[in-house]
């Protein structure tokens, strides 16, 4: 047979077989993408970011391999405190390996914690500028983590990480709406419990700790605190204090002393817990009935008025503006 005819037959066969497989192949591709085994194709921006050599490798089904190397590179940026490069690198990494929790968590941690605290203490820039950079780093970290959750909605750890970040008194002032952020943290912890986190009891309490700080949600928080309190394993100091505060808030006319004794058991325990709460409240928990409770306990324990904790000067308020002076 002439070679020309051979080539024509060859091309026709390729074409026919190609047409035969195309539909099936398309279905398989959709199936694999739905199963999270593969990424959508239109991630051209990630191909732009990876340099030439890596992109060839990434295309060959080695995206996660490239991600591990970029992670090494990112660590170098971290050590050199090159935050912009660090952020860019993590954008690429999560494009390559979007299902790896570690990259989302590490990337957001670098931004919200490391970069933010760098700007907090860095002295070359004027305070206002530093504050703005501090705030934007934290917000970027939050946004990054939220994208991670969008990509992996069933990963409890990402939810818990978001809760940790939003609950953190050092990060909270950066959020535009404090209450909304705390509410989001509360929901994130609940979600992590639903998805089977390692420490469900802790996260349940952390969820309460967030909700208790949201203004206008006190009754909901009280409901939750009561439910948790039914299980003696939950009887940790912060939970007991919050139960006290929320109970008092629900009925401010009640006898603070009786309430404290009911919740803490004895006057000494109640006094120590309330005093601790009174002295340092960085988290900004409600303070309802704490002063009244302390006064009653001091009376019961026979503490003279001159030594009353209520007369002592409180720790200065928690104001981020002070940090940038």
């Amino acid at each position: 047979m002439s070679s020309l005819r051979k080539i024509i037959v060859l091309l026709l066969v390729l074409l026919a077989f190609g047409a035969l497989r195309l539909k099936f192949e398309r279905q398989m591709l959709t199936e694999f993408r739905d199963a999270g085994l593969m990424r959508e194709q239109n991630h051209l921006e990630s191909r732009d970011r990876i340099d030439q050599t890596s992109s060839a490798v990434a295309l060959g089904g080695l995206r996660t391999l490239v991600a591990t190397f970029l992670n090494l590179r990112a660590h170098g940026y971290f050590e050199r405190q090159a935050w912009n490069e660090l952020q860019d690198t993590y954008e690429t990494i999560v494009n390559l390996a979007p299902q790896t929790r570690y990259y989302w968590e590490t990337g957001s941690w670098h931004m919200a914690y490391n970069a933010a605290s760098y700007y907090l203490h860095e002295s070359s820039r004027p305070p206002l500028r530093r504050k703005e950079l501090w705030r934007s780093s934290i917000l970027q970290g939050r946004y990054f983590l939220e994208r991670g959750i969008g990509n992996n909605p069933r990963d409890w750890s990402l939810h818990a990480s978001l809760g940790h970040m939003l609950r953190d008194p050092n990060k909270l002032p950066a959020m535009r709406d404090r209450d909304a952020a705390l509410m989001a943290a509360h929901e994130a912890y609940d979600r992590s419990v639903e998805l089977g986190c390692f420490s469900p009891m802790l996260n349940q309490r952390l969820s309460l700790y967030c909700l208790a700080r949201v203004r206008g949600r006190e009754s909901e928080a009280l409901e939750l605190a009561r439910t948790l309190h039914e299980d003696p394993r939950h009887h940790k100091p912060t939970l007991l204090i919050l139960l006290y505060v929320l109970e008092f808030d629900a009925d401010p006319d009640q006898d603070a002393g009786a309430l404290a004794l009911r919740i803490f058991g004895d006057a000494k325990t109640a006094y120590e817990a309330l005093a601790h709460h009174w002295r340092g409240n960085r988290e900004g928990y409600p303070m309802d009935g704490v002063a009244q409770g302390l006064a009653r306990m001091e009376g019961l324990l026979g503490i003279p008025p001159l030594q009353s904790i209520l007369g002592q000067k409180l720790a200065p308020g928690f104001n981020p503006d002070d940090w940038f002076k």
């Binding site: 497989r21 694999f32 085994l37 990424r39 089904g61 996660t64 391999l65 420490s199």
Partner: protein, 309 residues
């Protein structure tokens, strides 16, 4: 005299000839000392153990990075080695037989040309299979050892932090799941399937090419272009949806008809990240690979059947 018996009593079956030829190709490649690359692989696997980065969180992130490194580095190296071995070995065999005139001696025996081609292909695949199996074993061993170490560290740290027992158990379960599992074997299988398709393509290229270099270059080109096939198809289908098929979109269609879709075999990335794969999906992948291998082997035969050697 016995030599003058009219027809010899023995006649080889296709299968036995193919086996003979494939074992021969395998021996030939092994005696070219290809297996030295396994030492490099061992270094990579061992090396992947030493890249542990600063940790920022609790027990759950201790060592998780190392396990992931072992998996993705090993599988990455496997994919790379396997594709290089298959292309280079396939590209080498046929031209070398022609150059050394050993092909005459084989084809002058009662050996149909399809047997010769399939035998060569099977030899290369056997080599790749054995290589992958050894690498797989190394990876699993490293991962197994390291998972045990990581779990010990995690437990120590968790106990130190006063985690309740159930939390520690749950953490252990999760670490175990990211250690040695069947997903990894599916990933290795996917690598093998992809490489088998590549070898078949390389074989058909080598039947009409005149040099090893040409075959190698063209094969790698097809390999990389094949990863864009899905993009081309998406591009065409978008045009169909919008009802505005342009010339470039038809071009994209033609492209996806001719070039195999290698993206399909890239489930490795998902599997490294512990995404589940069903047996049915694995089955479909195997079928797709068989389809391609069969097609390209037949094409190779079509070209080679009356090639003048």
């Amino acid at each position: 005299m016995s030599e003058s018996t009219p027809t010899p009593a023995f006649k080889a079956s296709h299968a036995s000839r193919m086996v003979t030829l494939s074992l021969h190709a395998f021996t030939q490649l092994v005696r070219m000392k290809v297996f030295y690359f396994l030492a490099v692989f061992a270094v990579i696997v061992i090396g992947s153990n030493f890249f542990d980065m600063a940790q920022h969180q609790g027990p759950e992130s201790v060592g998780a990075n190392v396990l992931r490194n072992i998996k993705s580095w090993s599988l990455g190296a496997m994919a790379l080695f396997a594709v290089v071995i298959s292309i280079v070995a396939t590209a080498l065999l046929l031209p070398r037989d022609i150059e050394d005139r050993t092909l005459y001696t084989v084809l002058a025996k009662p050996v149909p040309r399809i047997d010769y081609l399939v035998g060569r292909l099977m030899g290369v695949l056997l080599l790749v299979f054995v290589s992958l199996a050894v690498m797989d074993l190394l990876m699993v061993a490293a991962l197994h050892l390291r998972t045990g170490m990581v779990m010990e560290m995690q437990e120590k740290m968790a106990v130190g932090r006063g985690w309740p027992e159930e939390a520690i158990q749950s953490l252990k379960q999760e670490t175990l799941a990211s250690g040695v599992n069947w997903q990894l074997q599916a990933a290795v299988l996917a690598i093998f399937l992809k490489v088998a398709v590549m070898a078949a393509i390389c074989l058909s290229v080598s039947t009409f090419s005149t040099s090893t270099l040409f075959t190698t270059v063209v094969s790698f080109l097809i390999f990389f272009i094949g990863h864009f096939q899905a993009d081309a198809l998406d591009f065409y289908l978008k045009g169909v949806e919008a009802g505005t098929s342009t010339f470039s979109q038809y071009l994209a269609l033609g492209f996806s008809l001719f070039i195999p879709n290698f993206q399909l075999f890239n489930v490795v990335d998902g599997l490294v990240q512990n995404q589940p794969i069903t047996l049915l999906m694995v089955g479909k992948l195997v079928m797709m690979a068989c389809y391609y291998v069969l097609l390209y082997t037949l094409l190779a035969w079509w070209i080679f059947s009356d090639k003048e050697v």
